[in-house]
Symmetry: C2
Subunit: 428 residues, 2 copies
Amino acid sequence: MTTPLIDDAVTASVADLARRAREASRELALLSRARKDAALLALADAIEANMPQVIAANERDLARGRETGMSQGLLDRLRLDEPRLSAIADALRQIATLPDPVGEVVRGSTLPNGLQIRQTRVPLGVVGIIYEARPNVTADAAGLGLKSGNAVILRGGSAAEHSNAALVAVLRDALTQQGLPADAVALLTEGGRDAARALMRAHGLVDVIIPRGGADLIATVVRESIVPVIETGSGNVHVYVHAAADLDKARAIVMNSKTHRPSVCNAAETLLVDTAIADLFLPDMLAELAGAGVLLHGDEGTRRAASGRDVAVDEATDKHYDTEFHALEMSVAVVDGLDEAMAHVRRYSTGHTEAIVTEDRAAARRWAAEIDAAAVMINASTRFTDGGEFGFGAEIGISTQKLHARGPMALPELTTTKWIVEGDGQIR
Amino acid sequence: MTTPLIDDAVTASVADLARRAREASRELALLSRARKDAALLALADAIEANMPQVIAANERDLARGRETGMSQGLLDRLRLDEPRLSAIADALRQIATLPDPVGEVVRGSTLPNGLQIRQTRVPLGVVGIIYEARPNVTADAAGLGLKSGNAVILRGGSAAEHSNAALVAVLRDALTQQGLPADAVALLTEGGRDAARALMRAHGLVDVIIPRGGADLIATVVRESIVPVIETGSGNVHVYVHAAADLDKARAIVMNSKTHRPSVCNAAETLLVDTAIADLFLPDMLAELAGAGVLLHGDEGTRRAASGRDVAVDEATDKHYDTEFHALEMSVAVVDGLDEAMAHVRRYSTGHTEAIVTEDRAAARRWAAEIDAAAVMINASTRFTDGGEFGFGAEIGISTQKLHARGPMALPELTTTKWIVEGDGQIR
């Protein structure tokens, strides 16, 4: 494959940073849980003790954001104030309370020849995280990395560059004061796009890259990275209201899936309604969605159902069904039975979360068996696909790929395993 | 990233084949173990019933191999005769006896809100396998794919093209006779390198690509593939004889690791010997290795130890320490203690298998904790890193990467998981 030229100096500087991260990772891999937890609490305290300088750095990012015409929503995501920094610190303290995945024996046995084998969890090593504007990811990723014994190399969005630099400076200082290597947390600040590219080429130095952000960012990383990638967060999520649905449950699940927090990846984007119940269910449902401010795109059946009501439903195109709105906007289609619903999902799904609402046991079983997604929901809101909701206590992202981790990724997903084989001179 | 041009017709034809494989995979994912096992037995019978035509096809490959000057070793690996075909059929029957990984509930719980969540093993979907000359991989991969509910797309080496085509034709016929989709096993026969490239770009249609073969093949796939890759089989394997080693065990482990089957990835390539025991251990060890026909490359300390004996040891260069010989050839170095041994391994290891021979508990513990490899051996031959030896019953390869699978990969490693969440109307 032809590779675009990357500035040599950038490649060398990223490789140097990755090598220092790898050195640090060797030390982190051997730390006891007690050392790691103490360090996490120290990082949390350091963030709270250094709020003024982090907030000052954040002001610079906000000022530039306003100058460049950043939307209010993005400015809000970018903002760090005292309550938010306290929440970031508390998240680190929360990570300290979680079990340490490192050292867990996943399986093991004694072989007939007396060899004792055990598959043991160990850190991945060096984890690269490429993310967009939200600076809370910076501390979160550092904390999850530290607890799982990994060094992290962070590549944040340029919109948050001063905020991220200030946070990372605080974290690195605190690590040093704990007697731990500052290079456990590194930030790629220079080199522009070439630096991100060089990180994605650092096969052998970086063990995995996790992109967190929009579909474009993820697609770019998947295309360009030679380092293994865990795809996260792409969610074109469907709710299918089956002919045998309890319509009260369906209504609540649709509203919650769409409107509870529309900007996140487990929010629903498309509503599929069975022909058999379309006339009964859709008019009120569409009115309720529209009443909550949801912009609606519907196929012919949907528009017919809406026609008796004062609800605007414009004509849905293929492009609508293919779009993750992450906003108060939804595509709707009327489908003729379970098979047509599953065919629609197969065509448009990103494999994140797919929900059916039904009281029919056979339909629920088929949905669970045949839908290919990280999570399938039966009579539950799509918003439950979440590390916190699943009881994992923390989340680095939601994997929508099939290798290594699928669904909410927590601390164990930031580890790999090693086979430890102990013998007494055995040969074959 | 600039992408090299791929012939459009080849891209379209590979995409079409991948789409048919995906259709087939949906059917395979729902098969009961009984259906899959019956099909595996039928595939085995079909191979035995069609030996003459497979052998005739193989003769064509062998003839071309002889014409193009293929080595005796490679010709031998390529050859299919009745005993080998029976062995291939028996391997399929053996796969039928193994437990079905699909449907296993890996973990699960009932959340405080009453939601029941369970993480369940499901097939990956479509697995691409790119491999070199050995045609037994063709049947093996098809059998492991079928048992784990995956469709496989095979891309064999051109040296075995007639053999592979004959085998796949037999397997597809047998699948059809079993009422199963023939597209569960597909062979990429046309399109040359562009076909392999198109397969590696079929992100979304192919779920994983597993390269099996030499270091060059693996490096090419890692560099070019957009589909996630599991790297296998790269083994620059070390045996370190520590100062506190039992020298009889050490001698046996070194001989077995190097000479038992030198062509495979878990064979040792470098011997590291502690300074403290070099004079005592090395002269006899080098003589025994040389006596078994092993060509030796050593550093100064090694050559000094060999000087009193009639053993040829040429000067080892950095390149030797970096080479997987896969032959009766070995690099040797004298190292000053455990830390220097670990530093050597860190520098040259491919992360496959690394062995220490020692009676010192602290040294063994440090080796197990600090060496970063799929398998670490304490007082055992490196040849034990093997799915069969570990009791897995089958092996698709030995992963040397950290994501998804590390070490011997068997049936469970050909699956992913899906979260099935059952509720009764829960919302957030």
